[in-house]
Amino acid sequence: MTAVMGTPMLRKEDGKLLTGEGKFVDDIHVPGELWMGMVRSPHAKATITSIDASGALAMPGVQAVHTGPDLADMGLWIAPLPCAWPVTPDMLNPPHFPVASGEVHHVGEIVAVVLADSRYGAADAIDEVVVHYDSLPAAASVAEARDGDVLAHSDLDTNKAYHWPLVPDPDALDAAFAGADVVVAADFVQQRLIPTAMEPRGVLAVPSPHGGDITLYSATQVPHILKVMAAATTGIPENQIRIIAPAVGGGFGAKLNINPDEILALTLANKLGRAVRWTESRSEAAGSTHQGRGQLQHIELAADSNGKLQGVRVHVDADMGAYMMLITPGVPLLGSFLYTGVYDVPAFGFTCDGYFTNMTPTDAYRGAGRPEASYAIERAMDLLALEVGVGPDEIRRRNYINGGEAFENHEAASTLVFDSGHYGPSLDRALEMADYEGLRAEQSRRREAGDKVQLGIGMCTYVEICGLAPSRALGGLGYGAGGWEHATVRMLPTGKVEVVSGSTPHGQGHETAWSQIIADKMGVSPHDVTVLHSDTAMSPLGLDTYGSRSLAVGGVAIAMAADKVVEKARLIAAHQFEAAPEDVQFENGSFSVAGSPSSSVHIQELGFAAFAAHDLPDGIEPNLQEQVSFDPPNFAFPFGTHVAVVEVDEDTGGVKLTGYFAVDDCGNQVNPLIVEGQVHGGIVQGAAQALFEEAAYDDEGNITNPSLMDYLVPSTMEMPSMKLDSTTTPSTTNPLGVKGVGEAGTIGSAAAVINAVCDALSPHGISDLEMPASPQRVWNAINRASGNGEGGAS
């Protein structure tokens, strides 16, 4: 049998999704269900002075209206919503309950919950709950929060939640800057983003008809984490909670949280003995689902006169939003180790201050901390190239770890050990695909001709940290849980293989990829493999899907469990052959005795032998099932080079992305088709941050673009077709040599695109532009540079 791993097998999960049979949460209904409607604060900061629900309660079909104080009296929870990552022992973490009492802290915070017997009834009733507020001044930006004149939480005496330093050798860092020929300093803004998975979040809690336990369907990436946290928050015993993530329509980090609606549905259904549901509306999502990014970055590079880096120093002011949610404070830490990028940097220091603001909480969004880091270093490298007077490709080559040659186990100044890398070839290949020389020639031609549409070429060589994570490393960073993953593999009596996966897909294609791994490991058809996942009753152990961890942790666990099944089957086969196990060989699914290949038994036949148990070796348990919880010894460090080509219309400021070339290295690939799909989608999300998207807040803390009318998720028209290639540098972290690719595209693309825009504008002396590079911003920059002032008539 030829290898299945590494081939572009078409996805097993497509059928249901293509025909409309896939069931998302809002597709699932049970008799007697009640609809929750959330009454949300229109103020960023205010005191609730009164709530009058009588109008709503008088409406037909409205069952109840509950305020924060009511719910606290009902004893529905025993703890606030959890933050699993107290990054410092003294981090401030004001209690965050599903429904506010007293003071509200962001627009969209829930102040009352309506229960009605229909979708429309709940929506109507929300409007009839009359809430009076005394509005208070709000901290409506991280800069304002840092100034500290306005407090985000009245009962805290500061907005600063924590200070986190990572400065392994302060003396070396000072010396690097003192001795530098060139110092480049820059400030970048990572605007807030609305994650916008196409399926809004939703929940349905169904109490069991025989009492005792309760099933929560949720559009979540993390059913296992949700189960533990729901038990800890509500006091409902873990064994009475079953979480099911049915078909989930994308996550990108936005479905990696423990949300008020999840806890409300669970506890209200449990209390009432009736099913309770809620589906987020898109415009509501800006206040009901966490946002991403939200950082002010300051980066300094110290280099010698040739542009060889001597040190990197970074400070980040991070916008926590109104509350610490599951991993809010840890997001900047996930990026902290990457501010030296793919470069050999002798000295490094990073500090971060987290600030509360009166805006929607931030938390993980595709890349979580790492796109921010990659953006800062890769933008700064372009500035260094300008300073030193070399091209952006050359400045990178001069600084690559090991001169761009292959390496293993490189200890970076940040103290992390990069598993493997080989950065030179990905840059070479990306420049070749893009026809870099040709593009530069065309750029010169347009510049000389004074063309109104100028060309810009930008590149980014990124590295990222994925495969989250070694549990000990997480513990060292103050994270409250581990990073292992669990897998069970069983050969069923019928010869089919059942895989139970603790990682939880929401579009990635785990069923296909896991089947490919099993096919190669066990010598069976991938179509004989069934993957069970996303239901804590079927898959009780797991840590779910985020941080590009599924393959490098969960996939590896599956491969290891499959190996164990093969080893057990070998004992049974040896017994049947009356041979010593060490004389029994395994190839393409069949066991045979060395030297007499004519008699053989297929592993799928042994499923029945183990089940019947009529003739097993002594001391062997009658099953062919093994489990593995794999805790990786290190992270994995994928990398690559992205090249973006833009056209900038100098009359309108419009930027058009006309070409995109990416060479990614995620180690050994299980399914190149899935890899490419992940890279495509990731690139577009990063490019969207560069050019279009921003959660815009006014001075009062109101979000001004919550709907998809105003929040510019790119369409087919904004994106070019992309050209991709890959290199393969196996990871040394795991036996499959795999890394991860779910976030790589996003980590590489924002910097590549802005580098391209700045490159196009460089003849004007423009070296930086804030994201998103909207036509207005670009036009203003051009006019400012040519001395016309902002907003002058054109």
């Binding site: 078409l10 996805r11 999960e13 497509d14 059928g15 249901k16 999704l17 293509l18 025909t19 409309g20 049979e21 896939g22 069931k23 998302f24 809002d26 597709d27 209904h29 979708r119 429309y120 916008t196 998975a197 196409m198 399926e199 809004p200 078909a247 989930v248 329509g249 994308g250 990108f252 509306s281 898109r282 415009s283 929401h506 579009g507 990635q508 294609g509 088709l673 899935i674 490419e676 799909g677 495509h680 989608g681 990731g682 690139i683 577009v684 999300q685 709907s707 998809l708 009318m709 998720v713 369409s715 087919t716 028209m717 994106m719 077709s721 992309m722 595209g745």
Partner: protein, 162 residues
């Protein structure tokens, strides 16, 4: 209000509130949950169905506005193709569904029903669409997973195969 709709060849008569959106009627009353909802501003196209042979965003119509009309949803697309004499293969898929599968034009699949419905009517209206035409034709359908690359590829492949 009383409402009669022929959906995927079956006629349904229902009592609905006048304000009921077509997409909610299809999903909540008729149980056809393949058609999805991704926004509340007619921006995303997840709810695209065929009404009287044309693609429409079913969140922009009241159910009663469709009274007496014929609707095809993702659940009925392959059957409709078959009736039109188009081969639907072993899987019983419309060629567009097959092309999305072949080209990995879907990941989470949430935008997919709307995307497939929009794409089939795009090719009906513009059978010679090139990449630019396909991109223009799908501008009203958002996908957050695929970056559109493989969706565009799938539609061009379906065109080639048709």
């Amino acid at each position: 209000m009383k409402l009669t709709l022929t959906v995927n060849g079956t006629t349904h008569t229902s009592e609905v509130e006048p304000r009921t959106l077509l997409v909610h009627h299809l999903r909540d009353n008729l149980g056809l949950t393949g058609t999805n909802i991704g926004c509340d501003t007619s921006s995303c196209g997840a709810c695209t169905v065929h009404f009287e042979g044309q693609s429409v965003k079913s969140c922009t119509m009241l159910a009663v506005q469709a009274d007496g009309g014929e609707i095809t949803t993702i659940e009925g697309l392959a059957d409709q193709a078959q009736q039109a004499g188009i081969s639907t293969g072993d899987q019983d898929w419309h060629p567009m569904q097959e092309a999305f599968h072949q080209c990995h034009g879907l990941q989470c699949g949430y935008c997919t029903p709307g995307m497939v419905m929009a794409a089939t009517s795009l090719l009906e209206e513009n059978p010679d669409a090139d990449e630019g035409g396909v991109r223009e034709g799908l501008e009203g359908n958002l996908c957050r997973c695929t970056g559109y690359h493989n969706i565009v590829k799938a539609v061009l492949q379906a065109k080639g195969g048709a």
